[in-house]
């Protein structure tokens, strides 16, 4: 991935910035230029909560090339309180602990690197909240 492409996504990937429609309040992550609910084009930027629950999960055992060194790894869809879902790996978890509805916290982690001369990608991974 070219550095410029990765760099454009940093506000969302690094800081979990989302967009809330000023007219109807629908939240978008990643942000968009037009609201798919009401058609408005004005948004306010805010930071998503970094806690949510696991809506679904899988364990990737046959990865694509870039993730060859990471596999097997757990991948999930995290549902954040604001009605937003996002995809994230689930880290620091035993695979047999994974459950739909499991509370998780988003933590800033290294995602993968593109060889010795490529971009090192960072973003958020979901980690189980153990109370």
């Amino acid at each position: 991935m070219p550095p410029s492409r990765a760099w454009r996504d940093y506000p969302q990937r690094y800081r979990l910035e989302a967009a809330r429609c000023k007219q109807c309040g629908k939240v978008f992550y990643p942000p968009r230029l037009v609201c798919d609910k009401c058609g408005a084009r004005q948004f306010e930027t805010f930071r998503l909560k970094d806690e949510g629950t696991l809506a679904t999960y899988t364990i990737i055992r046959t990865p694509s090339q870039e993730f060859a060194e990471e596999a097997p790894f757990a991948l999930g869809i995290v549902e954040i309180e604001d009605g937003v879902r996002l995809m994230a790996q689930v880290a620091d978890v035993e695979f047999d602990e994974l459950r739909v509805g499991m509370p998780v916290k988003l933590e800033f982690r290294r995602l993968f690197s593109e060889g010795s001369a490529g971009v090192i990608h960072y973003g958020h991974k979901a980690v189980p909240i153990r109370r």
């Binding site: 990737i60 596999a71 695979f95």
Partner: protein
């Protein structure tokens, strides 16, 4: 708009065709369709190909393939909608003939997937997902369908065995298809014990990497008597899109694009799900066939798993699904799949399906799907 009929079909055996190039594979099947229709020229061609660029390092194939088919200078259009590219190519060819712009159109599809490594193919396929927001976290295609499977199993109590039974049924059907990549039966135990890909999906829950092509010829329905084959009429066509990012769907256990494409096709055809005699659906993964059979209205939400377990989707069942073997047994050269579904419907309705023949096959439905459901194309065909 004019009524349109399929008058010729062609499809060579699918598999790992190491001795054949992208263009050879396509031209062989296209020539079969041309010969089947008994014609010597076509006015226009649409060819579905998901990623000739990533799989073969060759773009611009609308021109390459018309040229090598011996139809140089005709309009040749390559169509892309991920794994629904073939179905969409058929829809565009149908529109062109229906509109009166062309009288004889060829709709084809092709993918040459084995010239690159398995992990490169996994990457090429994953580009049909949302690369910036799903791919970046390591999502693969089996992974996305596995996420749907876990959600479906959690909500509807769909079982691991029911998933496996889709593969077992489709392999049982495909064993009678001489053009299938894997024409042999498998058992539930074999599926459940096969290599894990993305839990709960194993390798035998997944459609394979395949080289293959398929082609059909479309003409105005009122010209069918000029040809030497019985025509099969296109009575419904529907196409719908959805967010390609699975995260942004309202419901992880349904496929909205399939539901809407089907609704549009049913409305055009004036038919309901219970009017359909048999269907070819996009079983890229076992869970896909279960959800699709619900989204098409054959079963209520959550009813897809119990239906396959009860044999309702068997060749002898209430609504036979994937008598060709489906993507699972027949193979899944992504751009060709939607066209191969039309080939199967036509052969079934001509009574030419041999050991796969469905009794009283008069109205058939084909459902093709891109990515994790970001696009879908549905066609309904009827005997003339």
């Amino acid at each position: 708009m004019r009524d349109v009929a399929v008058i010729g079909v062609g499809m060579q055996k699918w598999g790992e065709l190491w001795t054949k190039s992208l263009r050879d594979i396509f031209v062989e099947s296209a020539l079969l369709a041309i010969d089947d229709a008994g014609i010597d020229h076509i006015d226009s061609m649409y060819v579905g190909s998901m990623s000739s660029g990533l799989f073969s390092g060759q773009e611009h194939i609308g021109s390459v393939l018309t040229d090598y088919l011996g139809q140089k200078h005709i309009p040749g259009t390559r169509v892309e909608s991920a794994c629904a590219s073939g179905g969409l190519a058929f829809r565009l060819a149908w529109m062109e003939v229906a509109s009166g712009v062309s009288d004889i159109a060829l709709a084809g599809g092709v993918e040459k997937m084995t010239d690159i490594s398995g992990s490169d193919a996994t990457y090429a396929l994953a580009t049909a997902a949302d690369m910036d927001w799903e791919g970046i976290h390591g999502a693969t295609f089996p992974g996305l369908y596995a996420l749907m499977a876990v959600a479906h199993m959690n909500r509807y109590k769909t079982t691991r065995e029911q998933l496996a039974m889709v593969a077992v049924k489709n392999h049982k059907h495909g064993a009678h298809n001489p053009r299938a990549q894997f024409p042999f039966p498998v058992t539930v135990e074999q599926v459940i014990n096969s290599v894990k890909v993305a839990d709960p999906l194993n390798i035998l829950d997944c459609s394979p990497i395949t080289d293959g092509a398929a082609a059909v010829i479309l003409v105005p329905a009122d010209m069918v008597s000029n040809f030497n084959k019985p025509g099969v009429k296109v009575i419904g066509s529907g196409h719908a899109t959805d967010t390609i990012s699975l995260c942004q769907r309202e419901d992880l256990t349904e496929l909205k694009a399939v539901e809407l494409a089907a609704k549009r096709a049913y409305e055009m055809a004036g038919k309901k799900p219970e009017d359909i005699d048999f269907a070819e659906v996009h079983d890229c993964f076992t869970i896909a066939e279960i959800i699709v059979s619900e989204s098409l209205g054959f079963f209520e939400a959550g009813g897809g798993g119990p239906a396959v377990e009860a044999g309702e989707t068997d060749r002898e069942g209430k609504i036979p699904i994937n008598c060709s073997g489906g993507l699972k047994s027949k193979g899944h050269p992504v751009g060709a799949t939607g066209i191969a579904q039309i080939v199967e419907l036509t052969e079934q309705m001509r009574g030419d399906a041999g050991g796969r023949q469905v009794d009283n096959a008069r109205i058939g439905l084909a459902q093709n799907m891109g990515g994790s459901g970001g696009s879908s194309v549905v066609h309904i065909l009827e005997v003339m």
